[in-house]
Point group: none
Amino acid sequence: MDPFLSPGSDRLVPPPFTAEESPAVDYVLCTHEHIDHLDLPACVTLARRFPQTRFIVPRPIVEQLTVQGIAEERIQGVQPGEELSLGVARLFPVPAMHGLSCPPARYDFGFEQGGGLYRYLGYVLELEGIHIYHPGDTLVFDGLVEQLRSFDLDIALLPINGRSYFREQKNLVGNMDEREAADLAAAAGVKLLIPTHYDMFVANLGRPGLLIEYVRTVYPQLSCYVPAHGRRFTFTRGDAR
Amino acid sequence: MDPFLSPGSDRLVPPPFTAEESPAVDYVLCTHEHIDHLDLPACVTLARRFPQTRFIVPRPIVEQLTVQGIAEERIQGVQPGEELSLGVARLFPVPAMHGLSCPPARYDFGFEQGGGLYRYLGYVLELEGIHIYHPGDTLVFDGLVEQLRSFDLDIALLPINGRSYFREQKNLVGNMDEREAADLAAAAGVKLLIPTHYDMFVANLGRPGLLIEYVRTVYPQLSCYVPAHGRRFTFTRGDAR
Amino acid sequence: MDPFLSPGSDRLVPPPFTAEESPAVDYVLCTHEHIDHLDLPACVTLARRFPQTRFIVPRPIVEQLTVQGIAEERIQGVQPGEELSLGVARLFPVPAMHGLSCPPARYDFGFEQGGGLYRYLGYVLELEGIHIYHPGDTLVFDGLVEQLRSFDLDIALLPINGRSYFREQKNLVGNMDEREAADLAAAAGVKLLIPTHYDMFVANLGRPGLLIEYVRTVYPQLSCYVPAHGRRFTFTRGDAR
């Protein structure tokens, strides 16, 4: 999901592996077209190396992959409400409220720039009875809490880098921040919160320590996991109780 | 390990269950005699409810259980270097540097008050190839890093409440603090650090947020887990890679 | 400026003195009509106790004072661009971007609810060559940095409580947050930043420690002062060099 595998001089964190080094992959899911979420060179390499790899992206940006030479039949454009079976997993696309560029800051679902369709998505993945929410980039918006509650989420990976006037002046479209991520996870009944989007670019940092301080003070029922880069993590049904 | 199950008005966190509500337990391990680590009323209740329960404690404090009426043959007094088999698990007692009371603050292994034996212990538990370190209460001391490295630890549960002159004036014997815990975990090659000892008593708080901030800044190879109270957690051999 | 002197059970911080205990006051300046900025009962008491007291408020809310029985000739309604002489001081009203209530969250200058006039103001006060900015409540908006730079500010008292979806759902209109306040102060060339609006209501807290951490890391040229409640503070021309 949103594999950002191309090295780059502005990355503070190198990729865990490049697309050339990647193990075989069945599905690549991307939430929107920003480079740190839709890494087109990596997608092209994965498509070339692994004939079975399929790509799942918001429908309005399917063309961004086909113009790179990835065959159309390998790409599945999706919209909220369209449930997909991915082998043993099920995928539920959900809306995300984001923007393509700024200033001026404008956060929406991307209808205008998506030809009337959702251009920014999040995904809920169901795998062996565990429900995981990866929103890509999003603010919190009306109806999101209710939608997430309907999935009985176990894990949420939530961005914490926030938004601000000064970020937006530098063309950094914002996200929920540390407190909003914790508030959202708690309101949605999430069991485990994993913060994301806080340590890749020097101008776009979040503060996981602040998240932990806030969660431990306000939401004793919420567990948090702050992983090392590239570390594997196991979550079982028993962990959700 | 160090089950603190008795309710008390000064607890900020209630026990996940009381000794009367506890599921059956094979082994109770205690690291030292402070009430939040050796809960004698809970031990007595567990001993009464579950005939199979055995108690493992530092040898100098075995008598503190027998005077409560727990049969001597159910208690195993241990010292560093004595490896025990506990069913499918193996237990390795290690020294801890702590104190009984203060002021004056005096941190040692408890030889004097232990009749020449270690009165404060930590434990390394090996279970299905996973090595977990629970130090009870301890400062970092010469040789601890080397000793822990020899176990190839996966998980360390480390206290973060720290020590200070003013704490010690209030008879609060100290521990390593947030940065020392992170430094120790990193120096020992731990994969996953779980902070402990930070939210039970109002006068004895630690700051898990500060730990996370420090770890994410200084030790990118170290994962952290900050659990909700009473939440189950799964760690597999794959997670250690 | 924005004296909030009435006791209240939801205050975490009592007033330094009540309106009945207040020393004589020549001018009361209010930035907007929220209770913690325009304390009408306190204004009425001050007006009764001190015949010389005059009230300066955004022009659209003058009537909120007159209906309380404060004589119209004692109230000066102001707008941005109208410079006032207040004895030895000069006052420069500036726009503020805020809102009356939410949800839905809507931040503007209050033209619609102000009959085409600015309903939310900040103030720059010039006193013995020192320029002090008190924005009341505001987000950062286009043009604010340039306007503040034109005053060659010495001191800015900036709110740090931030805004979020979940605050707004509880009818808490937001403000700039800790990082935005620091970014604004630095961009405006402020010498001394004093955080405000962070410890009065349990649902509306800011984190001055986070401000300090961010400023010390990113803006070494910026001093910060975090006062005890009710403590007097001297700033001289020499302090601004």
